[in-house]
């Protein structure tokens, strides 16, 4: 037994060298294959990025199935949206039946993430139409050249009011206000007057009562920061945030944590009665049958958010893509925006849900900033804010 295994071991040693060498060669081959493919990747993607200004060289993704078999009717349009997108399936079905267009929906993270993805995939876009780029990121998308001009015949019904691009590469679809929400019950129980303005939030009686979101990771957080910049001016907002910090503002990374854990007026039953959320949040907190809302929005702390849709540069099917933009502006789609996405439709003739009139009034004079101003300063404002609040 021992003898045999000793021989076997010697045999193994004899056979060992070529085997080991072969293994080494194989591994080296696989590794170099991998490495060279990595190198090719870098080169390939770079040329793709460089030569794609017109976007004509692209091979569309979602529209492939449509353009392949029958060129006329059965087009497929891929709609890129952000996380907050939702649509009534009945409305979408009706559109698909009437137009012969199949809409494939891809959600690509929050607005910032979605726009970043559109920019890195420029030239070989993920889809044909984008929906949900808001005014805080619109400038970035326009500057990157990821959109194509399209003028919808339905734009005069309301979208025109919010035009930001003379070439019509972005069409407004809906808007809303990011405002401080207040938990009425807390202030009643504590016999404390509710704050009403930005300035109030920094007063000592509201110490440790306010929770906001980090503008570098949260879309309402960014909107609120922009609201304070619009209100206090590019030279005054830092002093204001310093006073908020001194007054114990809590910063959460996202809306979910701020609203559902720290805010006292929602499911988390937290200990802060003031939170940055939307003017349209209060209706969701109303119990069925109640006539008053337990929470409300402070309408003089609002920043106006406007959402846009656009045709992606490089689409293989600009015609069908335009039809989808028209659909987003149609009365049928516009009417379901409040219930689906908590935003207000741009089409003024579309009726709002009854509880919205009562519990979700829109701010009469919201804070605004131009998209050009936002785009030029966004990064700088965010890093200044980060250094101020964290450093």
């Amino acid at each position: 037994m021992n003898l045999t295994s000793a021989h076997a071991r010697r045999g193994r040693r004899l056979a060992g060298f070529p085997r080991a060498a072969l293994l080494a060669v194989a591994l080296a081959a696989v590794t170099s294959m991998t490495l060279s493919s990595c190198g090719a990747a870098t080169g390939g993607s770079t040329t793709g990025g460089g030569g794609a200004t017109g976007g004509s060289s692209s091979s569309g993704t979602g529209s492939d199935s449509g353009s392949g078999a029958s060129p006329t009717q059965h087009a497929t349009v891929t709609l890129i949206t952000d996380d907050s997108f939702a649509v009534d399936p009945a409305v979408l079905d009706r559109f698909e039946k009437d137009s012969g267009i199949t809409v494939k929906i891809l959600t690509e993270g929050d607005v910032g993430e979605m726009v970043s993805k559109l920019i890195v995939t420029k030239g070989n876009p993920l889809g044909d139409v984008v929906y949900g780029i808001d005014n805080t990121f619109a400038g970035k998308a326009l500057a990157a050249g990821v959109l194509e001009p399209y003028t919808s015949p339905l734009a005069p019904k309301g979208a025109d009011t919010y035009t930001i691009d003379p070439e019509h590469r972005l069409t407004a679809t809906d808007y809303g206000d990011v405002c401080v929400n207040v938990d009425h019950r807390y202030f009643t129980a504590h016999h404390l007057a509710e704050p009403t303005t930005f300035e109030d939030l920094a007063k000592p009686e509201y110490k440790n009562l306010f929770v906001a979101e980090d503008p570098s990771t949260s879309s309402p957080g960014l909107a609120f920061l922009l609201g304070t910049i619009a209100h206090f001016g590019p030279d005054g907002w830092q002093a204001y945030w310093k006073s908020l910090k001194a007054n114990g503002v809590k910063i959460d990374s996202g809306w979910t944590d701020a609203y559902t854990v720290d805010f006292s007026g929602s499911t988390g039953k937290g200990d802060r009665p003031l939170v940055v959320s939307y003017a349209s949040s209060p209706p969701s907190e109303v119990k069925a049958g109640d006539t008053t809302a337990p929470t409300g929005a402070l309408l003089s702390t609002c920043f106006r958010q406007i959402e846009y849709a656009g045709v992606l540069a490089g689409t293989k099917n600009p015609g069908a893509a335009g039809t989808v933009i028209d659909f987003l502006l149609s009365a049928d789609f516009q009417a379901q925006i409040p219930a689906q996405m908590y935003m207000y439709p741009v089409d003024k003739s579309v009726p709002l849900p009854s509880d919205w009139a009562k519990f979700a009034p829109i701010a009469p004079h919201p804070e605004t900033l131009s998209t050009a101003d936002i785009d030029a300063n966004r990064s700088q404002w965010i890093s200044a804010w980060t250094d101020l609040m964290q450093g």
């Binding site: 493919s37 990747a41 929050d110 910032g112 809590k250 908590y342």
Partner: protein, 571 residues
Amino acid sequence: MTGAALVARRAYRVGAAGRCVGLIAVAAVPALTLGVFFCYPVASIIGLGLHPAAGWDLGAFGSVLGRARFLRIIVFTVAQAAASAVLSLALGIPGAFLLYRRDFRGRAVVRALATVPFVLPTVVVGLAFNTLFAPHGWLGSWGWGGSVAAILAAHVFFNYTVVVRTVGAAWAHLDDRPVLAARGLGAGPVRAFLTVTLPALTPAIASTALMVFLFCATSFGIILVMGGGHWNTIETEIYRQTAQVGDLATAAVLSILQIVLVAAVLVVAAWLRRRTETALRLRGAIDTVRRIRRADLPAVVVTAAAMVLLILPIAILVTRSLTTPTGWSFSNYRNLAGVGEGNALLISGVAALVNSLRSALIAGGIATAVGVMLSMVLTRRSRSRVARRATAALDAVMMLPLGVSAVTVGFGFLIALDKPPLDFRSSALLVPIAQAMVATPLVVRMVLPVLRAADDRLRQAAALLGAGPVRVWASVDVPIAARALIGAFAFALATGFGEFGATSFVARPETVTLPVVIGRLISRPGPVNTGMALAAGVILAAACGVVVLLVDLTANRRGNGSANGSGIGGF
């Protein structure tokens, strides 16, 4: 030389050549998978950052390394990952002992329970911990809200099972006779543990520590949700720079720093492993399990404490999922059959659960297959230095997916896998593939220590007796690693089940999984959506618990059979 020996040698040589070809084929599959679905996308996105249309732009290196904020982030990343690994090991090693070396009523249930945290989406766990430590929360008086302590607690919550399962799998196969001999020679239980058991377990402990470190170094959701912006890791910063700021150059530099950091850790780990990995005497797992007894009390106390840490956040989830504006009710669960308030979801929660199961099964299968192939290659102890180096390199490289940002990989997928023949961007298979990339290293780290510890003479003897390479593998390696293999599959399944980061990047509406659904529901206003998200979290936890319990029970039955049948224990 006898005739028999000559025949044996010739047989061995023929076998060796065949085995060599087989080995190369076996090595090529995981290497190619890794190359296509990891290396290529990552290199593409880093390339885009450092080499935009205008040409190489390396200025970002200076601006990143020169900013105090980034240096702070790097230090915090390493420090919190190391602390999390140490804490997880301290709590997990007694647990591994109790759950894999001792028998008691309800052991399978405790094991399944210990696995549950691993599959919970970080968003939900972050929310549960924040609720726990919020000023009015159950542990609000501790003042841990938003603190590093809370982050570490959450990391231990996630990684406890990694330690228990990986160390447990090795411990279950450890021959206890050397310990008995040491005791017989007069060593106390502590001395016997420190001088006999611990050295034997060191490879498993080292590779577990490595895994937990990598997991925590790339922690994303937990840091984002619990760090409140004050605490940042390289991972959250890559996300911020890539997705929000859109500064790809800075993101690329951070990605490179992350890869360098991970590579350094892997090199150290490989060095440690080489020094500690030895052929151990292994036994069938079944022989080593004893009834629980009084001397096990310290392990019981530590494990009970760990269970409290695991149960508290889950209890919070359950409580909140049953709370509705109108009182206690199951309505959040009933609502999951639909698509949420205001059609928050594009598919129902039930459909997402089915998607999760399907995709986890595929991911578990891919990860186990690829992981086993890798383990086969990595088990070969070659005498040539070059081959040993190559094996060590492969060993290290295949761990990289654990340590590299999901954001980097996700964005890389978008720009690298977008054209034929690699047009995977809109493929339904992308979700399980992305999950498998994360799960494969886990499989390897669970199977490899056991295979490496197996005495190579068993394989030589089998070969000598005329078994071909496949037969050798099937009759020596498989039975030895059977338990670790099934455990690894369960683990890969669980990883796929709970994976959120990579999945949320590549999920398509029709392939959306439950964790992605939860992330979506929880980011929308209204008690109905929040309630549904929490209910979905509870269902995810329960489903995972059941799946793992079933696999474990099967493993036990199998383990019994193979141990008795093939008599590994007697070797």
